[in-house]
Symmetry: D2
Subunit: 347 residues, 4 copies
């Protein structure tokens, strides 16, 4: 009987709890042996909820736990890089929530540490494991869409997190648009131009902290195709992650995500529910990305999305931030280094 | 320049007013020259609304109006047969709302009078002119559906008319299901078995007048295919006229009729409007059936739906009524007489 | 740490394999310790696929395995009753695929054995655990639908199983309609009248074995509400399990089940995929029913759907079969015995 | 009886023929008395098709026809301004297809001539008369949407017109995006910033004539709200005119335009048709805009969309063209002059 991959997890916020619940009985081949959170109450209560898994408040306990082969880093963003590096140095494979760091140079250091430690590094771009997006990408790869003319995508939260969170989030483009940059690259290809527009419309607090709550980002891909991203922190009606790919042979649309396939008809109208947040929308994708990570570890595979992808998305989000700040189109340079893509924003 | 067909219309209830408004400027080749309603105020006010067309309270005025070549009979059902016959005898072509009569023998007399008068008779089965139903029927005729296994159809009103109306309506199956019998025959073919189920659920008043407010009717077609009709007077949410045809090669669905293609998303749900009555749902079909009638008159064509179809639908509704009353399946006999279908319910 | 429920499973056909895969790592709190199939190759290969779980070709091995607390009976229908009884006698809780038996008296014997053995018995009516159906039922219970006028449901397979399977299936109504009877009772309430119509349309083989491939069944509920079931073995386009509940306050619709939320637009049309079989449509519900069973065992609960429900659905399917055979409405009697519903078809 | 408005029409291209067919019997209160086209065959054949209406090859015949009170100018764009002015000078009311001119100063001259002639001028922005767009706008006006954050709209043709047409079209932004500028202003409000992106992707011929086939235009409204327009000449799958308005209280979506409400289910998929061109999509809106024009003339009203709106849309399309050419955001100035909006692009 093949042995289960023994996993430790750090950070019991919303994503961390979700990954932990999956690892405790819903992902074949995985065995969650330790959870860590700086808040003792949180750590202990989650341990109980998960049937008594070992818990600590110190990340060091996890690093020293010799049973653990792989670590899920789901702590706040500023801790990602150090924790990922420490895990790698301890010889443990790493799944790290995005972004690895808000500084590109630091991301590259982590990538280098991981490489020299000989462990795996998977970045938390869950959309790559969503059945809708995978189906669409397969159709593109199979030539069903033909030449691509336009990529259009929306990522919108129902409500904004609090301003305290936002201050440490790295700004709108690093916190929200980052996901769309990864999806754009993955589905369509590399990006040559980024022009970003933003507005603070729902609350003066956004302007006070120098941030925005709505944005539009226009892309030009290396193929010449156009791209449009729209993002919002305050969509109000629900959570939106939908896309359209218009091509010479076909156009694909991903969207209309509902919780259940139930319509309610009352006088003069028919209604359906709508997903309200990312965990609801992407429950399956979050499970699949961890399943993938377990398989990567067990079968010694390359993860489908790794450090270089995280760095590329971060670089593009920095290009967007600069474009917005300077009111002009930014043209990042990109290339291949050590077999992986890299992006650089010089001017 | 081809001369317009000069039309008279009798009966300014809801359907009559709708036809009149179409005839007064929305149907090329038609010229509405006189409207008649027993209620003087109704007649006069509609004349004003229609830009001053001649009006009467006497049907005789219409019959004697030599300009008039064609008559729209939109009066209450009990008057249909006499008015249609009188028009035919006056040499005028007839469009008659369904049913021509609630008595089958009387319907056949009208058909005979029309034939001997050499005029046209079109029956008001508007669904035959609805683009959705026509498209579906074309697909069936083209073999796209293959052998048909099941025909399923719903006809439901949002709210019931008042009990006064219902008492003179000929009963549920003649007033509501009649349309579905015509559609079933037109789309699928002749019917060999009728089994009807009914219930009075929304108001004790239905039982008091010996009527029902909801029904299910099961059909067996001559081909062996099964059919299911469901009807309601009290659907509540809106007006429904939807159908499904399941076949060996494809299944067709007609439904989800909305007024406008606008979705409204509010927290956690997405809504669309829904049609609320037959005029809203079938505005185009009502116009098209009159356009067809005008063309029938102008170009000396056979109407796509005539007296024999009206008689067949009536006979089938009588079979349903008897089935419901006697709690058993009824098998009407049918055949071809004088080139037209006829149905008879013997046992 | 709460101990996992140790489960044995017998029958590695399609459903058995699906349950086994879930039990091996996707259902928290469950531990699959033995699988059994009469076919050695099947048993051995599935063991390998599941990471080396113990396997046997003899059901007795499972009964004698003291580790096992609970048994999943997923063998062919004729074996259900004996295997369920044997498990109960061995003191093991039982999850039994539907129907427990094709003979009502035998079903009641099994229920009695289970009761006297003091173990749990859950019947495999997975639809009770489907989020769509649960949501709809909650809305009904909460009064959102008001008084119910019509329950309409479709259960259709894309393609028929082979005639060999069909001969042992207990006939169309026991094999297909059974599920709809359970859903009808669960969502709307007890049933007083059953009238069944059937046809063999796609292949003469159905008539040869005395069976049908399409059916319509009309119900009358104790409340007076009407019900319509349509079933097919040969829907062709895909797998359908959709329903409509029309009430005085609202109408609910469950349906339009797609695999992924991707639309493909090509010249003049827009397409979506459609589920093609029950495992695809109900993957979540199959997992949830087993999760429920594990919870029932762990927490000593009553299963949401037990032996009496299985017996009721079987009795109703027998009423349908008799109605179809005799061409008339059948009125089963029902009541409460020992705190559970029972149905009887006398005439 | 109110007298019909007697109308002349010049230009029997696709739009002209469509308007003429409506005026000949589908628009109450209108009487088409003369059609003009430089091509004798076209003029004569259309006269025949319309039942023998008078026809000419000379526009002067129309101007001198004293019966004619109102003119529909549906000739090629370069002729609009002169013909509109001539009609106004002849004392005839003018409905002019958009744009009145490709030169803003010339548009203002026409507006001035119309004003001094005391006749009406309606511009051909049909979308203002589409029930979907009107419904959405009413919801916005009623406050149902709250503060607007994002306006997103797509206008796409299935196939491009030929390069000969394109050369005289005034360029992509004047020929295609113009409509969206009008809709944006009408639904959301005045526009302060325009940033345009374009690409020639489907055929090298676009680049050869210095034009593009796909574009994205980002707007910033005076309220601060963001806007995104995407346009294509080569969408391939069909004709698209859909929009989304995201606001603080609700989000509205207009789209999914189908010809008929028929779904076709074949193995593993469900398909619907899709509109393929503007006449199909906007048949009702084209009729309504002419109905509105007739009412404007009959009842001496101000048209809902006039010369100043045409000029504003043209100015914004010029801003887009300059933005695209110069690779930067353009900020047109706008204000109110003589009670009407005006836009100016200085820098």
């Amino acid at each position: 009987m093949t042995k289960d991959v023994r996993v430790g997890l750090v950070g019991l916020g919303r994503m961390g709890r979700f990954h932990a619940a999956n690892l405790a009985g819903r992902i074949p081949g995985a065995h969650l042996v330790r959870i860590v959170d700086a808040n003792e109450k949180v750590a202990r209560e989650n341990s109980e909820r998960l049937g008594g898994v070992d818990w600590s408040t110190e990340y060091g306990d996890l690093l020293e736990d010799d049973r653990i082969e792989a670590v899920i880093v789901a702590s706040p963003t500023p801790l990602h890089a150090d924790m990922a590096e420490a895990a790698a140095r301890a010889g443990k494979h790493v799944f790290c929530e995005k972004p690895i760091s808000l500084e590109l140079s630091r991301t590259y250091e982590v990538i280098e540490t991981v490489r020299s430690s000989g462990v795996k590094l998977q970045a938390g771009f869950h959309r790559r494991f969503d059945p809708d997006y995978r189906t669409a990408r397969e159709k593109i790869s199979a030539g069903e869409v033909g030449d691509i003319y336009l990529f259009r995508t929306s990522l919108r939260d129902m409500r904004s997190p609090g301003f305290e969170f936002l201050k440490g989030s790295g700004g709108f483009f690093a916190d929200v648009t980052l996901h769309d940059f990864d999806t754009a690259r993955w589905m369509i290809g590399e990006i040559e131009e980024v022009t970003a527009f933003g507005a603070a419309l729902s609350d003066p607090g956004f302007e006070e902290i120098g941030d925005i709550d709505n944005a539009v980002v226009v892309l030009r891909f290396a193929t010449g195709a156009l791209g449009v991203i729209d993002n919002s922190r305050v969509a109000g009606y629900g959570y939106e992650c939908s896309s359209e790919i218009m091509g010479s042979r076909a156009t694909l649309r991903i969207g209309n995500h509902r919780r259940v396939a139930v319509q309610t008809l009352t006088p003069d109208r028919v209604c359906q529910d709508y997903v309200s947040d990312f965990v609801e929308r992407f429950a399956g994708a979050y499970r699949s990305e961890i399943e993938h990570f377990i398989r990567v570890v067990r079968e010694d595979l390359e993860p489908e999305v790794g450090g270089a992808d995280d760095a590329a998305a971060l670089a593009l989000s920095q290009a967007a931030a600069r474009s917005y700040r300077e009111g002009r189109t930014v043209r990042p340079e990109s290339g291949i280094k050590d077999g992986a893509v890299f992006y650089e924003v010089r001017k």
